[in-house]
Symmetry: C2
Amino acid sequence: MIRVPTLFLDPIRCKKNIAKMAAKARRNNVAFRPHVKTHQSLAVARWLKEEGVSKITVSSLKMAAYFAQEWNDITVAFPTNILEIETINSLASKIQLNLCVENVEVLEFLEKQLKSPVGIFLKMDIGYNRTGIAVDRFSVIDQLLSQMEQTPLLQFKGFLGHAGHSYQCRSKEAIEAVHQASKEKILLLKDRYQKQYPELILSYGDTPSCSVSDDFAGIDEIRPGNFTFYDLTQNIIGSNELNEIAVAMACPVVAKHPDRNEIVVYGGGVHLSKDRVEDPEDGVIFGRVAEQKGASWGACIPKMHLKSLSQEHGIVSVPKEKMQDYAIGDLLWVLPVHSCMAADLMKEFHTTDGAILSAM
Amino acid sequence: MIRVPTLFLDPIRCKKNIAKMAAKARRNNVAFRPHVKTHQSLAVARWLKEEGVSKITVSSLKMAAYFAQEWNDITVAFPTNILEIETINSLASKIQLNLCVENVEVLEFLEKQLKSPVGIFLKMDIGYNRTGIAVDRFSVIDQLLSQMEQTPLLQFKGFLGHAGHSYQCRSKEAIEAVHQASKEKILLLKDRYQKQYPELILSYGDTPSCSVSDDFAGIDEIRPGNFTFYDLTQNIIGSNELNEIAVAMACPVVAKHPDRNEIVVYGGGVHLSKDRVEDPEDGVIFGRVAEQKGASWGACIPKMHLKSLSQEHGIVSVPKEKMQDYAIGDLLWVLPVHSCMAADLMKEFHTTDGAILSAM
């Protein structure tokens, strides 16, 4: 029996999301290296293997070490943290480890300290302006490339970009536009460097672009992650339908306030995270409530959402006529604003068919 | 050596914060029942014992069970989750457990299911509108009181309020005004019910009010929590000086972008939480960078703050002239926006004098 906030995972929805993205990758003839930071779970990652996936993306060396238990080709899509050189050397001696580099100092450090070969992606800024080298800074790129030429342990793999600014979009058309502009930027690099490096890989792919577009011409590899579960943010961006969201938090009702049409649930920032999204109709929300359907959840209930979160409390706005449908001690299904953050906090998934899958 | 994001705790600052609040409670002749949700650590809570504290507040039954290892008088300042009746009965058989109630259904449930006596606080809404009974709903209050009269295991303790709307304040004057208005509301209940219940306790106290005010006339007990560590949010509210913040996240520098005066650190939403605060000068921030000072941190560096957070990345805005002071592989001291959430994520504290204190 569920007595406290518990993160549920619907394997049917999740496997469908994975199968759909794997099919898109095959159809577009691009390699599929999904990001596993969303679930951080070896158990969930086995569902990727069932779809033929053989390589993954992670966002920390700690995550790489965890997944190296079952995966032997891992890209760390995060600027290399030189302080973790021991972990890098330990992993590189066992698996195909690919790192991201965007600064000369990092390459110089690796040159001196590496003991096994690693693949190097140059992290490029394709419009997001978070990390990466601007795609037209050829002097820096050339310098990094020639440095790698001189160091056999540094194996240049290609260019890696993340169009994270697609998260600002609010329609499929807007996503497609960001995708095309970002893709154009990274393709410039192939034009310029493919002769010299015929094997170079263009690695690309945020969840919105990979969910919406079907044009990956010139791209070699995609790395979406959030699509595994999706969430309310991705839905508002335009990436997925609400019924594709594969995780929901079961939250006990602990108080009712009919005078203000609110329910208080046990389920706060330490369960769902304080991530928020601005819904075009309902303003800033922290989650939405879905109806019960069999052993899982069904459609979202219109106008029933988490309007605020404290450390352990969630305050649910409830349509007046729905107040009587819920009693203290009931469980509400709350769809998360950001599934990656909720999964990181909860560390395990209860599947709707009765299993418990652990995460990192 | 620190290689990954690590939460540091300065025992000198922390013990000073505790001593100051304990002295204020003594001076005002109110009982001091600090909230321990900020640190969730038995080790840190021992510093409260050194100041004579003998009873605490928690925000979940799970937290109560953890602290019951060393504390025998605990109030759960959260609407009672009836689904956890087994934990309630187990704790109530061992310690003085106090619960919060605001709905008749909960009291009826406890009446039937309780096996040992528990203290009951009626949770009152003193202006925050998150949880609690409005202070003028006497019919509900009277009903709950008469229900308790009939059940010896339900021991009415008093009224508990939390002026959480003080978090909207941005000056000491504004905090004092919210405090006075909230205190007035809860005092009404003493006027009305003290004859009938001469022992009744008015339990009160958010960190802003308890930090700023020195007028607790009529209040019997205060329960601030965040003051133990403080943070940037409390500083912006007006509760504390920046140099009273007792925790900071050491974050490795992983990339530098002099073209846009930004540094990328390893330290993101999974370390600091996605909690944000709007700074009057710098807009929405997710942390501030402090300078190195001995084995700890010193003053905040003006205009050097976290402008955005991803799952593992923090993007630091850096004053142009400061860019050259930081190299890849350095550690930055990041003061958190919300120390409770960062502590919950990190689960342990490295003290600036070399110890490691674990949390729940």
